[in-house]
């Protein structure tokens, strides 16, 4: 079991294993995304009050859910880097930040598009929307801090501290709806008790959430592979890989 842990610290091993994971995970992700989108957009009933406009939920909610989870992934990777000084965790943290920022941005944009027909306005300063905006700022802050350091090892550690500090913000994001409830509806899916969303709409939504998690993982692995290659550009294994035409 511990050899597995030690292997995690080896860039060529990680590059190889992530390649073989991606080989089956990427097609599976694309299949799930396509199924979920077709199911959600074409084969579910329109909403009683919102008509067809509610269908953006199949992008909006998964993006928002995974954007939040992505922050945990980033902060956790940062903590692993701080505690065990594991370089690969630093690579993971560095790679997770832009993906999380992109997902947060997607959640905000789709929320604005959804808000126009539903609430009659593109943007409201509602608690949950504002929290997502803060989350975007947190992601961008981590990216900006990373770029500001010349010493990349220090950059990774500093970003790890910052993302752990930002994690204090995450419970506030979750709780914000209860605290400053205004326009945004409270969570419809509950693990305990009855969900307030119809099963015919819930299942495609759950599929899309799963697909977005898989998409996040794929993007993370691909980003990590690119980061590994650029960091290890001068080593033997990268040279061999380049000479063999990229096949690992």
């Amino acid at each position: 079991m511990w050899t597995f842990f030690h292997k995690l610290g080896s860039p060529p091993w990680l590059y190889g294993i992530s390649g073989s994971i991606l080989r089956w995970l990427l097609p599976l992700t694309l299949l799930a995304l396509a199924t979920g989108l077709v199911w959600g957009l074409l084969f579910t009933a329109p909403d009683f009050r919102q008509g067809n406009s509610y269908r953006i939920i199949y992008i909006h909610v998964p993006a928002a859910v995974v954007a939040l989870a992505g922050y945990y992934v980033m902060a956790l990777a940062g903590a692993i880097n701080l505690i065990w000084k594991m370089k690969m965790a630093d690579v993971a943290m560095r790679s997770a930040a832009p993906i999380g920022a992109a997902l947060t941005f997607i959640a905000l944009v789709t929320g604005a598009i959804w808000g126009k027909p539903t609430w009659g306005t593109w943007w409201v300063w509602d608690a949950r929307i504002t929290s997502m905006l803060i989350l975007l700022f947190l992601y961008l802050g981590v990216i900006a801090l990373y770029e500001a350091f010349d010493n990349k090892e220090a950059a990774g550690k500093a970003c790890a501290v910052l993302s752990l500090v930002g994690m204090v913000n995450i419970p506030i994001i979750y709780k914000s709806v209860d605290w400053w409830y205004s326009l945004h509806q409270p969570a419809s899916i509950k693990f305990t008790g009855e969900s307030s969303i119809d099963p015919s709409m819930l299942y495609p939504l759950l599929l899309m959430i799963g697909a977005f998690y898989a998409l996040f993982t794929c993007c993370l692995l691909m980003n990590m592979r690119a980061e590994l290659l650029s960091r290890e550009a001068r080593t033997n294994w990268v040279r061999k890989l380049a000479l063999s035409g990229g096949r690992d």
């Binding site: 504002t130 803060i134 501290v161 500090v165 204090v168």
Partner: protein, 228 residues
């Protein structure tokens, strides 16, 4: 001479920071001057109608307090980092947690506390109802302490960087937002005659959390900055 105990050391450090600040009074005056000037900007930008100013006053006062805190927090560790005394502090056997608290306490005493004490004057200039001044001061007293703690995290992470000024705002402003929400909500509640207590209690809870955790992050940040 034997080494002082942790608490005595912490108090000495606090005294040193305060003496340094008092010897350069302009540094203490600058945030207050900034506060006064930005207060003057709002009637110029929003129009001088007293009713309108009164309704915006809680938010205006809190945002200015937040900005002046942000602008001063950049300098907390800067000079000690430049002359090497920060590195000596990290090498010393004293617990960094307490030393960091001394820095933060000094920063709060010369910015947050003074701002809270002079805020009634600016509140009157912005036509804030007199009944809300008590909760304005209370919320500023609690809130600026949280802001100082959070601001020092940004200061510790960016102290080694040449161009930290803009960056620290990007890092720290998102963390300031919950404080701003509850701080201004406390004042707004007092304006309409609702109890401000719950908001002040939440600010107090944030302060407890920040005192417990922020020095850890600051200490880690300082170590990273010194190593880099």
């Amino acid at each position: 001479m034997s080494a002082p105990g942790p608490l005595a050391f912490c108090l000495r450090l606090l005294r040193r920071q305060l003496i340094l600040a008092v010897r350069r009074p302009i540094e203490i005056g600058n945030p207050l001057l900034f506060f006064a000037m930005v207060v003057a900007l709002f009637p110029l930008g929003l129009g001088p109608a007293p009713d309108q100013l009164a309704s915006f006053a809680p938010g205006i006062l809190w945002i200015i307090a937040l900005l002046s805190n942000l602008l001063t927090s950049d300098a907390v560790f800067r000079s000690d980092f430049d002359d090497g005394s920060l590195e000596q502090l990290l090498l010393s056997p004293q617990p960094l947690y307490l030393s960091v608290l001394a820095y933060i306490a000094a920063h709060w005493l010369i910015t947050g506390l003074l701002l809270a004490l002079v805020s009634p004057l600016f509140a009157l200039m912005l036509n804030l109802p007199a009944g809300a001044i008590g909760s304005l001061m209370a919320s500023l007293l609690l809130g600026t302490a949280v802001l100082s703690l959070l601001g020092c995290i940004g200061a510790a992470l960016t102290v080694g960087l040449k161009r930290g000024g803009m960056l620290i705002s990007l890092l720290i402003l998102p963390l300031y937002m919950p404080v701003l929400i509850f701080g201004s909500a406390a004042v707004k509640a007092a304006v309409i005659g609702a109890p401000a207590g719950p908001y002040l209690a939440l600010l107090g809870a944030m302060l407890c959390l920040a005192i417990a955790l922020a020095p850890l992050a600051i200490a880690a940040g300082l170590r990273i900055s010194i190593d880099a």
